[in-house]
């Protein structure tokens, strides 16, 4: 089963045009950043054709895994979404 199918059941209030996670580093991604392609539980990270890593946090579950994995590399800018936006758990 694809992770997109899992996310499909969730409720979100997406803050259009204001992603709460951004990759700030240029150049070769660290091993930590690359690991997120597999490890992010919402599949928000993808490896591009040029070997860089891109993030699309629309389906983010706000767990913080990427944040703590990349805390030492400084490649991520990570904030919670603005109040009221992001994942809205129905059950939690």
């Amino acid at each position: 089963m694809k992770v997109e199918e899992k996310l499909y059941n969730n409720r979100y209030m997406v803050d259009e045009g204001r992603p709460h996670i951004a990759i700030t580093a240029k150049g070769e991604p660290s091993a930590a950043l690359k690991s997120l392609v597999k490890v992010c539980p919402a599949g928000c990270y993808a490896e591009e054709e040029d070997g860089s890593v891109a993030v699309t946090p629309d389906g983010c579950l706000e767990c913080g895994t990427c944040r703590i994995i990349c805390a030492g590399t400084g490649e991520l800018q990570w904030d919670y979404p603005r109040g009221g936006y992001g994942i809205l758990f129905k059950f939690g």
Partner: protein, 432 residues
């Protein structure tokens, strides 16, 4: 300028407990929550331990949204095709005031927060606290939010901002949580008719069953899986150390699907409708990872303070206990006319040390490192136990003495005698 006696950052179990106790005592309390409601950002298995909530709201059973009270606990070791383990079921758990309940956090937290409002606290949702405000001396005097640039002032700020504790970190009062000290858990909610759940788990009325499992299902990573019965749904999840996920490159949802397909689990889920998929971090660093818990004008409670006993699957109860103790400290100091300084707030730390919260965490202080360095507990042993059980139970004409020898040989080849003894010693030391 409006000033509060206390501001509570976050509306999970620790924040709700702290806000409730202070508001109930007559303090002027502001609680700020980034979710749409209390609970909309919160994730847990979830099991509620009644005693900790009873100390705060004794009559909670009459109104709180509870799913089932737990009458049976199953602890399973899994290899790819089997499970073995222990079950404990007792009719004694069918008591007037049951000890453990399954809950659905989004609903439970919403209820708990309604009690906070009833007690007189001002609760502001859909607002993210961005940082703590300090005066020239460095004392915390309030908060800033994403609503505007204004500082909201209070005599004390109780940080109940959860495992990531962005506010605590960005304000320099807490260090970053390490990937080795956090577990990532993913979970799905599977809906089934109530009577189907009753039949599958051999239960009736509001009786509930919980399964905790470890073994090859975590693919060599340190972690556990679970399945809990709610009223009309099953909570199914799996969690492992973040550092293990990072180093192995295993996707958590692949692991969850593996657990769901396990021959011991799949029949329990058959025909269910999945309505939500969630992920959350659990602080599992234990006693040694606990940050500084108080300072001039601030206190830390709950997950933000690393209050989780991973061995006993306790966290939300520790959140409630620490929230209550922090609140009671503030209430008492206020009543005595004392300032909320670091020296005076040290009473919170003392209260924690005297309680089961710190005593239990201290007891298992070495456990995280021991588990970290000994993967055989989730890899080799489940396989060995399964092999032994299969050899023992299969009736095939092999003499029993030979079966015993075969089992012993399997264990010795799996771990060698020194390994087996060493493992026993490690477990004993972790337990002490």
């Amino acid at each position: 300028m409006e000033k509060f006696d206390a501001i509570v950052v976050g509306a999970g179990p620790s924040g709700n407990s702290a806000a409730y106790v202070m508001a109930k005592a007559g303090l002027k309390v502001l609680q700020v929550e980034r979710g749409e409601t209390s609970g909309s950002k919160n994730v847990q298995g979830a099991i509620l331990y009644a005693t900790s909530l009873e100390k705060i709201i004794p009559e909670f059973r009459e109104e709180a949204p509870l799913e089932r009270h737990i009458v049976e606990q199953r602890l399973w070791m899994l290899d790819d095709r089997s499970h073995c383990g222990t079950h404990y079921r007792s009719d004694k758990f069918n008591e007037e005031r049951p000890n453990r309940y399954t809950i659905v956090r989004a609903q439970f937290d919403k209820w708990f927060n309604s009690k906070v409002r009833e007690a007189g606290a001002l609760v502001v949702c859909e607002t993210t606290v961005t940082e703590l405000a300090r005066d020239d001396s460095g004392r915390v005097v309030g908060i800033k939010t994403d609503r505007d640039d204004q500082v909201v002032y209070a005599d004390v700020v109780v940080l109940a901002d959860g495992v990531n504790s962005l506010v605590g970190q960005r304000s320099g009062i807490r260090s970053e949580i390490k990937p080795e000290h956090a577990a990532l858990a993913v979970k799905e909610m599977h809906f089934l008719p109530r009577e189907v759940i009753d039949q599958r788990f051999n239960i009736k009325e509001n009786e509930g069953v919980v399964i905790e499992a470890l073994g090859t299902v975590t693919m060599g990573l340190m972690g556990t899986a679970f399945l809990y019965t709610n009223g009309e749904s099953l909570s199914v999840g799996i969690g492992c150390l973040v550092s293990d996920f990072r180093d192995s490159g295993v996707s958590p949802y692949v692991m969850l699907d593996k657990f769901k397909k396990h021959p011991s689990i799949a029949p329990l889920l058959e025909g269910s409708e999945v309505k939500e998929y969630a992920a959350h971090l659990i602080p599992e660093g234990g006693y040694k990872a606990i940050p500084k818990l108080h300072g001039d004008g601030w206190l830390i409670v709950g997950d933000s303070g690393q209050f989780v006993n991973s061995m006993h699957r306790e966290g939300s109860n520790l959140a409630m206990e620490t929230g209550r103790m922090a609140a009671e400290t503030v209430v008492a100091l206020k009543a005595e006319g004392k300032k909320l300084t670091e020296a005076n707030l040290a009473r919170y730390r003392k209260t924690l040390e005297d309680s089961f919260v710190m005593k239990d965490l201290k007891k298992y202080k070495n456990l995280p490192e021991i588990l970290h360095e000994n993967r055989q507990f989730v890899t080799t042993y489940p396989n060995l136990l399964s092999k032994a059980a299969e050899t023992w139970f299969r009736v095939d004409g092999m003499p029993k003495l030979d079966k015993e020898k075969d089992i012993f040989r399997t264990f010795r080849s799996g771990r060698r005698l020194r390994g087996l003894i060493g493992d026993a010693v490690k477990i004993a030391r972790a337990w002490r």
